[in-house]
Amino acid sequence: MFRRIRTRLAVLYAGLFAVALAFVAIALYAVIATTAERQVRSELGASATVFDRLWTMRSRELGNAAGVLARDFGFREAVATGDPRTVESALDNLKARLGLKVAFIVNYDGSVTGTRDEGLKREAAKLWTPLDAGETSGVARLGGVPHHVVAAPILSPTLSGWVVFATPLGPSEMNSLERLSAIPIAASVVQRAAGGGWASGPEDSFIRAHLDGRPGELDSGAGVSVALVKPLHSLDPQRPAALLLRYPIALAMAPYRPLHIAMAATGLAGLLLLLLGSWRLSLSITRPISALDRAARRMEEGETVEVTVDTGDEIGRLAKSFNAMAAGIAERERRITELAFTDTLTGLPNRAFFRQHLALELAHADRARILLLCLDLDNFHAVNDALGHAAGDALLRAAAERLRSGAAGSLVARLGGDGFAIVVRAPADPAASARRFASLFAQPFELAGQSLAVTAGIGVAAGAVGLDADTLLKDAELALAQAKQEGRGAISFFETEMNARAQERHRLEADLGRALAQGELELFFQPIVALETGAIAAFEALLRWHHPERGLIAPADFIPIAEESGLIVPIGAWVAEEACRRAAAWPDPVRIAVNVSSVQFRKSGLESVVVRALAASGLAPHRLELEITESLFLESSEAVVSTLHALRGLGVRIALDDFGTGYSSLGYLQSFPFDKLKIDRTFVEPLAERHGASAIVAAIVGLGRSLGMEVTAEGVETEAQLDELRRHGCTSVQGFYFSRPVDAAAAAALLDRESGGARSAA
């Protein structure tokens, strides 16, 4: 209702005071009214008593006079002998003496004498019954006016009648009673009409209700009075009479009016003072609250605020608490910001902070000549897998520390994983700057008690005005990818064509995602011929991509993309199933060789892919040969070996492809008994020309034979090569000399021809 505490408090206090004041006023008024009324009531009671005395005195006085007359012998004789003139004159004499208005004789026979007023005679005749009943004093109505009537019997000596004196009870008679009272009361005698009411309106009901003599309040229309009814004895039982005494309340309350006025004035003044006081008090309370309110709003908008505390009361304490809270919030905000922009592992700024920083740097024209270096540790995965994550983290921390110490004012951030980024401002020689950072990795790292040589690839991109942070970062990352391709510790600068290549790659990757579903992939098969029999011992399944726009795409162009994007997993599964399905149609000893990528090994599920392919095709496991490369052993060899054992457990053969081109260590040959070694084509090609080449082939064949493995030579194109291989004792050969890779139908035809040939040969 009231939106301000100030208003609410003032209204509340003023309201309470007004209510209290009203109660006091009501109580006071009630007391005064009660007192005044009680006073009036007691005065009325006293007046009634006075009237009673007067009545009695008057009755006795008149009674005595009547008695004296009634006993007078001559009067009695006059009455008894029926001498009206004498009676009349005697009564007139007495009226004059006593100052009476009305006097007459009611004879025992019911006749009335002593007056000539016929109307009075008729009314007087009605008095016979009460007189005969012995009632000699009371109120009777004569001439329409209530009269005080007193009678005395005339005994002569028997009852011959009554002398009756009457005085009217009109206003002038009542005045004498009113004058006797201490307060100005109004007195009147009322008489009930025969079978009717006492009076008209409210007076009638009041009289009826108060005949017991209790005073009460009478509202006669002309104001409220305290009134009292005193029943008077009436000589007519049909018409009871009563004395009505009245005193207007307004008159009784008049002396208290100054008190009422004084009280109202005091109350009003008090109310004003209270309003003023409570307004001021609430102001003193709400001012600091308003200050807090404003401060809270400013805080909401992010400002750092402090409220000035100048009191020690609850509000003062609240303000203190508020200040403490505001300081706490500010501190926590600072911490959260810090955490949000810091890499918790290395303590370097994180990627988010780096991007903001880079954007800020680029936004300033004079700082546009900045250099962005993206740096990535070589073979970090191998370290992580070989030594554990704790060692990997330690390496990252150590690398970060070296970068920080060597940054020399440049910003160094960790982008995630083993990737770092450095922003160098306006370098004199970008190449020298990049080399300086590369040289930070010249010394080996001491890790878990081992000395570990770790190099880093660096991609460099130069900033320019208007270049945005994301683009620059992408450029640097492309350059880094190039550097990584170039080998360990390489530094590569961003060139525009990198961008085009990258876009090309992205397009291919997107197309490759669809290729499998669109049926654009196809398996080609190249026969592997056993030298001993000259028959086809197996086919190597080779993947071909028929791109709808570019035509046939070589595996070397899309397999790396598949491996990087992870698409190699579904593609590999499809290859395994398709190869097994085709091979199942071939005669029994003919095997199928399927290449397995190292990515497929890293992802779990290779084993189930092989099982499904075998189960779906019904191909005997020994007819499936999985070809893996040495590079697999660069990564965690233990996991690889356990997977190889599991596959071997299925009955599948394992061949080592491209032998002699990758990993320098031969130790892994001890860890798993391969079924076959495949001599890479780089050793086969120069076989006829160079003597050294022949020695390597001889060594490999010897190695395989001594380890109990078959040896297959790839890339055989000439008869000279074939002869040389045969001379060295190679188990089987594969190459254009026999057949290019052909589609499934052609492969089946080759087998048919061979079996036909065999038949014809036989």
Partner: protein
Amino acid sequence: MRALLALPLLALAAPAAAAELVVTVRLPNGAPVANAVVSLYPGGRPAPLAPPAGIYKVAQQNTQFHPFVLVVPVGATVAFPNYDAFRHHVYSFSPAKRFELKLFAREQNRTVRFDKAGVVPLGCNIHDQMTAFLKVSDTGLAALTDGSGRAVFADAPSGATVAQVWHPFLRAPANQVELRWTIGRGRQAETVSVNLRPPPRPSAAY
């Protein structure tokens, strides 16, 4: 009081058939009413009066009249002897007989003759409390009830008769009620129930 008067009258004028009649006057509550006068009018006519037998007497003694009610035949003379040591002023304003015996003392024997039937209330102008009643009867058969409320007629004539019962305070016009009886042969009893008003008090309190 006794029915002294009736007895000699009845002996003289006894008709052929007569019976003893006992009239009892009571209040409605059964209390006997003394000093009531029962008058019989056989056949609606007054019974013949006997000639006056001596002098009737209403004495004043101890500021009271004695007797309170006296039945006399028309034409009787009543003496008012004063036995008190002070004077009395006996009077009556009655239509039957208006007289006044002013301030007479002891030894002064005054008599008044009553020759008109009716009730003559007696008062004393000096002493308000003194009241007595003379019942001047025009029939020979009139008797006063005694303390037990009984009036006895030894020889009431048989046949229809009009009976009047009067008492100074009887609540009825002229303080009197009238009844009609048929007197048979033999003893007969009649009971009359009346209401009395309280005797007027001469000094009403105001």
